[in-house]
Symmetry: D2
Subunit: 349 residues, 4 copies
């Protein structure tokens, strides 16, 4: 029998695409009960259901639709856990205000990710980084916390790399992404820019992937020294980022050994049976033409990364493979929820 904790939960910036995904994922969640949604000045006071331009398949449930939108200030919020889907520009200051007011904040924004006393977490990859919260509380003298999930592309990449890092070691990673339109939010990418087209540029994305990957794959106090090079591209796909990954390993590894390490990979979220943890974090497919975003993005309810075409590389001593993950689930809201579950499991909430 699932215990029912009913932790009061707030979503900051709930009307955007990531905010919507938070609400969808938390619908029926055994621990987190959304009781507060916040929005921009323009939307404050309205009912969520009347205000949001809902862009996901199933509409918000009646309870959520009837929540009144509050301003994004700590005094207006009564919650045990706060998820931030704020734009980066606003999140820097507002998230600190919430942490100072004692709230544990799990943020999808890039603002705090690279600060040394802020955990940047992909729970199956670096669960131990939770302990950075203790340091943060000491240094910042607050009772709350700021914990961040990675950039969507990084979340998919690092989860696929973790079994390799653990078993064979990583020297270099070259990654070329084909990213879904939903990663740019709504309205986001204009149809005139992407129908019958590819855009070989996403603002600051490559820099984020390169630095976040090293932080996540590193130890608590030290980034990994794996070399990472990313090239990021937008493609005409709704959901699901595809990544072509070329890896140089420390120890020699055959494609079969890499595949086994991925298939067998489990981490703390699986051991602890956290509600949002997928049974199989990395799913390896053997068909010659998989993974594909339309068919594989919902694997593990969007929390698994699907890998295929693992083959020897001809430039590196290592392998190349294709990986797919759901960019607004594993790559954003789902990852944040799993972080919050991890925090609760370790007594940080």
């Amino acid at each position: 029998m699932e215990e029912k904790n009913n932790l009061k939960t707030a979503i900051l910036g709930a009307t955007g695409l990531v905010g919507q995904r938070f609400l969808q994922l938390l619908d029926g969640h055994p621990w987190f009960d959304v009781t507060t949604v916040t929005g921009s000045d323009r939307t404050v006071g309205g009912l969520y259901g009347d205000t949001v331009q809902w862009r996901l398949e199933s509409p918000p449930n009646r309870k959520i639709a009837n929540l009144t939108i509050h301003a994004t200030v700590p005094d207006n919020v009564d919650a045990d856990i706060v998820f931030s889907a704020l734009p980066t520009a606003q999140s820097l200051k507002i998230e600190e205000e919430f942490a100072e007011a004692g709230y544990p904040v799990v943020s999808n924004s890039a603002a705090h990710r690279m600060e040394s006393d802020v955990p940047l977490m992909n729970p199956e990859v670096n669960f131990s980084h939770l302990s950075i919260i203790d340091e943060q509380r000491r240094k910042r003298k607050w009772d709350g916390a700021i914990v961040t999930n990675p950039n969507c592309t990084t979340a998919v990449l690092t989860l696929s790399l973790k079994p390799i890092a653990e078993n064979f070691g990583l020297k270099s990673v070259v990654m070329s992404s084909m990213q879904a339109a939903s990663g740019a939010g709504y309205p986001g990418v204009a149809s005139l820019d992407i129908i019958d087209n590819i855009i070989p540029f996403i603002f600051e994305e490559e820099e984020k992937v390169q630095r976040e990957t090293r932080k996540i794959l590193g130890r608590v106090n030290q980034s990994s020294n794996v070399k990472v090079s990313a090239s990021c591209h937008r493609v005409p796909v709704i959901d699901g980022h595809t990544e072509a990954v070329f890896v140089e390993t420390v120890k020699a590894a055959t494609p079969e050994e890499i595949a086994s390490s991925m298939t067998e990979f489990k981490a703390e979220p699986q051991t602890l049976k956290l509600p949002t943890a997928p049974e199989q974090p990395v799913v390896v497919r053997s068909e010659q033409d998989r993974p594909q975003p339309r068919f594989d993005r919902s694997e593990g309810k969007g929390m698994s990364v699907v890998v295929g075409r693992i083959r020897s590389d001809s430039v590196f001593d290592g392998v190349k493979y294709a990986a797919i993950g759901h960019n607004t689930v594993r790559g954003a809201a789902g990852c944040a929820v799993l972080i919050a579950e991890s925090m609760k499991s370790q007594g940080y909430i």
Copy 2:
């Protein structure tokens, strides 16, 4: 004043997508006058215009539409130059029959590309390989010739790499492609497979790119020892292949130096002012979000490769960049026509 040579020209396999592109490109050509089209048994005897499922924007001209389709046998053809758009399986034997019968054959098929006495040519990159024809004629004891153009992805890649190879030397190349649907012919890719989707696999494509790139960048008798690794993907784009390229150079080079080497690059086809040679083989764009296939695939009438986002790499001592080229023009029929023009300029036709 353009000289008008009126060389009689045959297109083998003229009803397919590459055959159609040959006819479109040769419409109004100053030297090559299409007088014969061949097709499969099912189509022989019909008028071209009644038989073809034309899939390009402007329909074939009246003269072409009224050509009768012949069987693909040397005796049925009266031509000074033969272009082959045959499927690989058929081309192996048929192209040899035509060469034995004395025809110069320029082929878009993969069948003969890797044979040591067959030139595999991207004219601006390895014009000197034309001399392999002499060796071929000696060894095979025929008066005709077989010359091949590269795989579409390789054609784009090698043209973008040539200025770097010449000025700074190449050690390693990692390339991830986003390839247009037209590369798979017609009907080719099913819409159910590619709408809202990416297919991370194209049959034998990566192997072709890796081996053909080394042959083209090599000397007449010796492949280059540059290491090449490719990952090939199909995307929902009609025409134009996009390539994310990571390059390790022998000599250090800044992105600006690489850009200059590309912008300044000219080769024999430009010097000889061959009719199909683009004025600028490699066009470098400075916008942060170009090149894009829909907007750049027609540059130089589809014969130029457009490069952008040249930046320092963080894995290799070198650069990374995005390149776009028209897969059925520079990557197929257009390249073949430029090869034929090159052959004529050197007296091989």
Copy 3:
């Protein structure tokens, strides 16, 4: 508590797109247990899971994957109910062989639809047509039965029209469709034909819509005399047909009255609580820009038709509106399953 009947069920032509949808819909069905799948000669003897090119999101379950594919002949089948997903050309004769051998056959093919002693059924629209089976058995002297579901476009159209017909009467219907690619099967529509394009033609579709609509809306022995004109178009959408419908009614009706009649509409499948019957057969949305196929095609698990933009017409005394339905669920396999449930409820199975 659901009774569990475990009727043995066969799918004829199980490897195609509609066959796949049958298997997906019957997964976990309370009455129908798929025990036999048949396929073309090429596939007979293989395991279903190894043979099928599965094109739906979630893969077939293990039990289905392990079924051996049989030839499509009555002697090879042991079943209480047979669903036919055969191509029209083959279905004409084969379905009769099965009916003669005593099987009740529910067919998605067009072959028998217009025969006067074969029910053409959209269960909420013409449940009473089941009685035609008695006439069929008498005339054809067999114990089995052939019952057919409509063409996909007709299924959506007639369900949306039924509440209007019942309450206000129908004089004329003009319908322009925007049909999904999955309606053409797999591989079906080439991506080169439909990316950045519309095809204003679907073979025999308009004729089917016009005649099937009159049969379904008619009485057991007499087609309706409503005038119907259809124009059918293929659009770059995966699943879900959109229809622009212009209706001339017998009695005057405001858009609000039409909307109410649709919202309140229930029929025998709802009263009988048949397992596949949607709670609400016609869902009316009030947003100005709905229904949309991507967001509404899964309403009622794909069995509801979603209608919106009901407004007065300026040519007809009547209304115009937009309707969406899932073409391979309500428009094919789902409709057939609902027909079989209807047959069972009335003792025909």
Copy 4:
């Protein structure tokens, strides 16, 4: 030999998508020489080439790129003819200011279209409406003029209807459109709204089509009393509106007679050989699956309407057919240029 008039030409609102199309169409125009471009306050003072987010295939020529953007006020403009690509909200007042200042203004905006003393022109359809300018000048006491082109959908529809109206008379028209994304401007339609989707609503479009069609098909002082009903839909197509048209004629007409009337149709712009007039205003195709926007939108350089599938209707005494036209050429900038040429030919400029 073309005469070269070199009329100084201004484009108001030149940076938007229609403004860009004006510049592209006027590049090399024998009469109109663009010397002034205007833009919003934010852009004034910048060079056009540095400011515009160019969204068409070939970039603006060097002369245009180097024009300085002016404020949209009459005093800042020195021109013989003014084209307005202003948003509707701004155009109402600004276009009147220009007309009062003596400029002939041809506007793509909806603001003035339905005013009785403003010609709403599709030149091949209602050339005689030019005489309304005389009335306008008398009533409004100005030397300038405001003349408007129709809404894009109406431009395509009315051109296809004109030969029918002329030869057989029109009673009713039912039209269902499938409209390209470029009709919504840039950024316009979000990719998340239109990939794998249809939007069955375009703000005020149906009302525009219904009233503009009657005005254009009417006499100088009296709208036509043809009944028109439109249903408008957005589809994932870049350029080219597709329309399914059902027509009730006054006199009986076979599809062949309708086709002949269209093929033979010529009007004043053809007789006067106006530079932008297509040789064949309505092109009839006989293939069963044409017209299609990707293949037919450039017919007559985007100024022809392509019609196909003319067949008898089963609701109306009349026909149904599919029509395609380029929405930003015939449906916007191209139509406006042809209007200006018509005005010049009759001495209004």
